[in-house]
């Protein structure tokens, strides 16, 4: 879960990290200013400035007009529902600080740069001497002295060193306390009057840890937070409803494509493999999906019905890895039932059924009865995909 800027900044303030004076607005009516401001669209993606999501204004009238503009803009697939209006800060210097987990070291790592407001990956390549990094332990946190070591590695000393490293160790506390997977202040600025301030902040919270942060969970449920234009298609929405019918297994993660071959594929790795294989053999998938964890016949049936009922879908391919938990017979029954309920003929609708494994004899019996073309484990996923493409082009 990505927190919006103002949500992240509320956390920074709790940890005594200063941010510009500001307020969140949901409409321009109440807005009135007496000094220059920055208006920032609250959307959960980076690169807002380049997308036109950050505007400046000096008069109330101008600020209101620009806020209207922001509310009506599509910014990288999002429409903001909240605008953060902040005082314009006199910036003397900019820095970058970020914390993420390093999957190879299996530890949190700090990245600090004495150039801020830039693309950090690019900076690492161009001016590596301005960037330093250091790992720390989740058990002891980032010690003050470690923070000073990391900051001083970039050549910063004196009062700046103390100010910045204090902020860095507080950011590390936030990272750990809030179960963040990413905590970034970019830029951290030194103002004209010698104060350090977080101009922008990005916190990413571990979805698997949200259960221990009830307040953040509430935020996520808030429908008025942001409007996504990348919202699900009607087909994807219906598929998600089907997956929620019961808690037995997964028959979901459906993503719509515009081909003619419907796919009922799984589990995670096999779905990726099967989708690639269908494309490699010249097939045009109508959708991606993932089946796993032994879903109920009901879910498989409903998903099948939904997919074969799409007007552009001519045939479907049912391909899974050798299953041990999911039962082949339940898959077969669900697929056949779904096709029948959609008013179609299983033998003509299934291009190939390749799900070997647990309860396969029972499954193959059902498929034979309905004349559905199937194959066993001696046919690889890749071969099955080729057969599906061939059978669906007849």
């Amino acid at each position: 879960m990505r927190l919006l800027e103002f949500e992240s900044k509320a956390i920074l303030k709790k940890y005594q990290i200063s941010t510009p004076r500001g307020r969140v607005f949901t409409s321009p009516q109440e807005l009135s200013i007496d000094s220059p401001v920055v208006l920032k669209a609250q959307i959960p993606i980076g690169g807002r400035g380049k997308k036109g999501g950050v505007l400046e204004a000096s008069t109330t009238e101008d600020a209101r007009t620009k806020m209207e503009q922001l509310f009506s803009r599509n910014l990288g697939g999002y429409r903001p529902k909240k605008i953060l209006v902040e005082e314009r800060v006199d910036v003397a210097q900019e820095f970058f600080m970020g914390i993420v987990y390093d999957a190879l070291a299996k530890a949190p790592v700090v990245i600090f740069s004495r150039d801020g407001g830039v693309d950090i990956e690019e900076l690492v390549l161009r001016k590596p001497e301005k960037v330093s990094r250091g790992r720390f332990s989740v058990r002891s946190g980032l010690h003050q002295y470690r923070a000073r070591e990391i900051v001083s590695d970039t050549g910063i000393s004196g009062k700046q060193l103390l100010g910045i490293s204090a902020i860095l160790s507080r950011l590390a506390n936030i990272f750990l306390d809030f179960d963040a997977t990413l905590a970034e202040i970019n830029p951290l600025v030194l103002t004209g009057d010698g104060q350090f301030m977080a101009l922008d902040c990005h916190l990413e919270i571990d979805d698997d840890a949200l259960v221990r942060h009830k307040d953040l969970m509430e935020i996520e449920k808030d429908m008025d937070r942001v409007e996504s234009e990348r919202s699900m298609t009607e087909f994807e929405r219906k598929a998600a409803e089907i997956d929620a019918l019961d808690h037995r297994g997964v028959a979901g993660r459906v993503i719509e494509f515009n081909g003619s071959l419907g796919l009922i594929i799984g589990g995670g790795g096999a779905s990726l493999t099967a989708f690639d294989a269908v494309k490699a053999h010249g097939g045009k998938p109508a959708n991606y999906c993932e089946i796993g964890g032994n879903p109920s016949v009901l879910k498989v049936k409903e998903l099948t019905k939904l997919i074969v009922s799409r007007p552009n879908v001519k045939k479907i391919a049912v391909i899974m890895n050798v299953v041990s938990n999911t039962r082949v017979d339940l898959m077969a029954r669900g697929v056949v039932k779904g096709i029948l309920e959609a008013g179609k003929v299983p033998a003509e609708t299934v291009a190939i059924f390749r799900v070997p494994g647990a309860w396969e004899e029972e499954g193959f019996k059902i498929l034979s009865k309905y004349g559905v073309p199937y194959c066993d484990r001696s046919v690889s996923i890749d071969e099955a995909a080729r057969m599906a493409v061939e059978n669906s082009s007849i």
């Binding site: 993660r253 790795g269 001696s378």
Partner: protein
């Protein structure tokens, strides 16, 4: 030989009275794994398929020494369970549970690293050394494991649990046996990733080639390519990289939590290019894994 565990490895199951654990304990026993004890706090005196249950790991180990533990407890309890195993001298931990908070994973991995203990998972189906040992749910019931796996010279490490069995099955059908097959786990951070496992396969005299099942996302494959070159790894590696279509759809999660592509990072294109540069054979199609392997290990009789 096998890596990580073999027929002599003694195993405890933490959370053994849970529905899933009860079921895979039966399958492990059936496959010949030495499951010597189980632990569920408050359930001392019960037994699961003949395996005695204890309240604590310490109590279990006092009666039944063991080297490995399979952990299958609810996500919020995983960290404590792993620390308990580590504190009591367990040398190999397999964490089956999914949705473990990342900070918790890192915390017990830190301790494991200090104690030089191997951790597989979280979010793993486990591992199988054919005809020797099976830890966790990998492969399912005994009859299914026997159909898909057979002993031989090829190691498997896979980012997908289901595809671990699928690859073993492909090899078995083509008469190629396996040494040890490890599902590394679907989380972005796991105890033993490809970089940790390749050196073990390299040292294992029985393993003559390794198959990797890779997915988009993360940088493990990229770093592995550098590692193979730097350390002059001589064991031939055949990599299958699934999800090539995901390159065109950045920012979307397909399959496991670790598959998200961000910018150029984690794209299959980059992984493929770096593997090739390092001399790692990239299988063009899934079936191509077999022909690629044959170049390295010949045809087995």
């Amino acid at each position: 030989m096998a890596i990580l565990a073999d027929q002599n490895t003694r195993v405890i199951v933490q959370g053994i009275t849970g529905r899933e654990a009860t079921s895979f304990t039966k399958d492990m026993l059936g496959y010949g794994t030495k499951v010597v004890a189980g632990v569920t706090p408050g359930k001392l005196g019960q037994n699961v398929h003949g395996v005695p249950v204890y309240d604590t790991v310490q109590q279990a180990l006092r009666e039944h020494p063991a080297e490995a533990s399979v952990i299958s407890v609810p996500p919020p309890l995983v960290k404590e369970a792993a620390l308990e195993a580590l504190d009591n001298g367990i040398r190999l931990i397999v964490v089956v549970t999914e949705r473990v908070p990342r900070r918790d994973t890192i915390e017990f991995l830190e301790v494991a690293q200090e104690k030089d203990v191997r951790v597989i998972g979280p979010n793993t189906l486990g591992l199988i050394s054919p005809h020797k040992v099976k830890l966790g749910m990998a492969g399912g019931p005994v009859e299914d494991v026997k159909k898909a796996y057979m002993p031989g010279p090829v190691g498997i490490a896979s980012r997908s649990g289901g595809m671990t069995t699928e690859i073993a099955n492909l090899l078995t059908i083509n008469g190629i046996g396996q040494s040890t097959c490890v599902a590394v786990g679907g989380d972005p951070i796991v105890g033993a990733n490809f970089l940790d496992l390749i050196p073990l396969f390299e040292k294992d005299p029985e393993t003559r080639a390794v198959v990797l099942f890779c997915e988009p996302g993360g940088v493990v494959e990229e770093r592995l390519a550098e590692f193979v070159t730097a350390e002059k790894i001589s064991t031939p590696i055949v990599a299958f990289i699934a999800g090539r279509f995901v390159d065109d759809i950045p920012g979307v999660r397909f399959g496991h939590a670790a598959t998200i592509v961000e910018g150029d990072t984690g794209t299959t294109k980059r992984k493929i290019a770096m593997f090739r540069e390092a001399g790692i054979r990239v299988a063009e199609s899934f079936s191509d894994i077999v022909s690629a392997l044959r170049e390295y290990i010949g045809v087995q009789e």
